[in-house]
């Protein structure tokens, strides 16, 4: 018992040692938000990205290393809409960090600031991995990135008001470059308008909405359920009546189902970076969309 009391004392002594913080510690759940925070925060922020683009963010281990990083975070930037529900809540509970608790200024969810698509009309797990708040994969439309950037810049100002002007300037600068990039991408992607596509996971409604792509089928029979051979055969059959130009998948998806369909339906299989780091070319937010458009155009030839 004495040992325990001694340990408690030690805990309290240690907890009084404050750690000097020169920069704002940001814990980003996904690489796209890490990249965005970096654009807005420059050298005033230190960004840790919890996942990489080759991981399925629906299923992440609540690893000890993530708890350790979250403990030090001043700001948590995640997608929300239950994308991280399988791992983030347990990290937050273990991290003992009041700043980033849900509802606090240090807890930022990107899906709160964009218009959500695919909001289910009924909630039943028999329909697969449904998200009550709508499809969470908002990062595939650059106009969403712009909206999130507006809100995120405000949030940075709120948390670190000493550097308010710095964040606002960087946000303005970023938005200028971003808006002209969106115009460029839209011009480049004009030939894609109206083409029929097949998706592996229902993760592209925002991209489709932006570029006017027409999704005719999904390889996953239900969202989050791996493609089965019967369902693939059905899709193949469907494509005979309603041909599609290409089948697209995110970098983290297994390539087998879309390759199978591509070979059998004689269409192109396209791997899209989906987030920063998903392909060697997608190094930041700009090259993420450069590469996405380039890959789509190539498959459309």
């Amino acid at each position: 018992m004495k040992n325990i009391i001694k340990l408690l004392g030690l805990l309290f002594c240690l907890s009084n040692i404050s750690v000097a913080q020169a920069t704002l510690n940001v814990f980003a759940c996904e690489p796209e938000w890490g990249a965005l925070v970096q654009e807005l925060g420059g050298d005033k922020v230190s960004v840790f990205v919890a996942t990489n683009a080759l991981q399925d963010v629906h299923h992440i281990e609540a690893k000890p290393s993530l708890v350790a990083k979250l403990r030090k975070a001043d700001l948590l930037v995640c997608t929300g809409s239950e994308l991280e529900i399988g791992w983030l809540p347990v990290l937050i509970r273990q991290a003992g960090n009041p700043n980033i608790q849900s509802g606090k200024v240090g807890n930022f969810e990107a899906t709160h600031y964009v218009r959500m698509l695919d909001i289910p009309t009924r909630l039943d797990r028999a329909d697969g991995d449904v998200h009550a708040g709508g499809n969470p994969h908002i990062q595939t439309d650059p106009r969403n990135i712009a909206k999130v950037s507006d809100a995120l810049a405000q949030r940075l100002v709120e948390i670190d008001s000493a550097n308010a002007a710095f964040y606002q300037d960087r946000h303005e600068d970023f938005m200028q470059r971003w808006q002209s990039a969106i115009k460029r991408w839209e011009t480049q992607a004009a030939p894609l308008k109206g083409i029929n596509i097949v998706v592996q996971h229902k993760g592209f409604p925002y991209l489709e909405n932006w570029l006017g792509l027409n999704e005719v089928a999904a390889l996953e029979p239900k969202p989050g359920v791996d493609p089965t051979s019967t369902h693939l055969a059905e899709v193949l059959n469907q494509l005979k009546k309603q041909p599609a130009k290409m089948v697209i998948r995110a970098a983290y998806n297994s390539e087998k189902p879309s390759q199978w369909l591509a070979e059998n339906a004689k269409i192109q299989a396209v791997e899209l970076p989906y987030s920063v780091g998903g392909t060697p070319q997608a190094k930041d937010l700009f090259s993420l969309f450069d590469d996405t458009i380039r890959r789509l155009l190539e498959a459309n030839k």
Binding site: N52, K63, A68, R71, G86, A95, Q101
Partner: protein, 449 residues
Amino acid sequence: MFKHKPIARHIALMFLLPALVHANDNVEMESLRAELQQIKQNYEARIQALEARLQQTESIANTADKKAEAASAQASKAPISNNALNPDISLILSGTYAHRSQNSDYHITNFQSGGEIGPDTRGFNLGESELGIAASVDDKFYGRLSLALANDNSVSVEEAFVQTTALPAALTLKAGRFFSGIGYLNSHHAHTWDFVDNPLAYQAFLGTQFGDDGVQLTWLAPTDLFLELGAEYGRGRIAETEGRDQNKGGAGAIFAHLGGDVGASNSWRTGLSYLSVSPENRESQDVDAAGNTVTNSFTGNSQIWLADFVWKWAPNGNGNNTSLKLQGEYLHRSESGSLTYNASNSDHYNASQDGWYLQCVYKFLPYWRTGLRYDQLDSGNVNYGSNAANLATNDYNPRRISWMLDYSPSEFSRIRLQLARDESRQEAPDNQLFIQYQMSLGAHGAHQY
């Protein structure tokens, strides 16, 4: 719409052309020109007015669009919780079919274990179903209740605790009934286990799993390496005992966990824990020297050490297709006190014993995993005092080997086959087959590491 201007001109000209043909003097021509000019001006004025109205309409439509978008973004800002303000409710449904070569008079040879231990009884069993209710209490507390619904129609409180969320310096205080943070597996609910049953060492020393009524304080170090220190003080409800009715606690524990990553593909955690507990009337099944099934009761002090490690691998941290989990724990228990043999003779008893397990679970296909576990206990030194005449001790070391195969069509359902040879009882090695289902419905649970 913008094309109307030239069209209007053409229409005007077409009407006027016949008049132009018949015109034969300048006066007429002049008046016609003036008329034409007049008509042209009229049309132009009207077209300009139309254009202005069009522009106005377009800008109104534009603002309406923006307003609609803002409103819908506003709408999606509404906090999304599984049940609005109600707590998250989750239900685990579980059931087992057991086929075993031995009866259910379970005990562990040479171990005074205590608690309800042992494999499921033969035939169909409703496994432990679990009802969980959890939510933030306010901005400072989080609360959780787990009720275990057992196959004998009893309901027991597995966990019921509140926990702080706003303490400074990464301190978290928990109070109520909760699974102790000692070891690796101890704080894991049964539905997250990789095998149907808990390791033998947990059954022998912790009565399957140690949950107590008390308080727990944990502190997380501000380092990149995960370092968590924790201390617990509680009633001491180990192995189905009631805990001590006294003003001080009956159990204290401290633990340290250390963890990190190796590249993107590997993560690990290791820990060292110590539990001191004073059980009163801890009952254990045993077989005496004459071969009769008896119940012994222990009152005294136990000191338990646990060393644990777990290592997880998935290519690039993406475990959708394949992953590997290696896990092992070593437990040591020293205890001394008095042991009552079959409610008759009571005398001093002390023991120093060890146990460990090592298990590996491999996901070889999406949805499919297989695992192998080896359990070993070391009977160590046991001194039964005058009860030595009643309770035979020898150097038999119980052990068990288990293999499992499970299929999880989604993260909410799992069906498992487990085969085991259980040599817990020296006189009755048990060949076991289990088929188990575990389903989760309601709020989406987040699984701890």
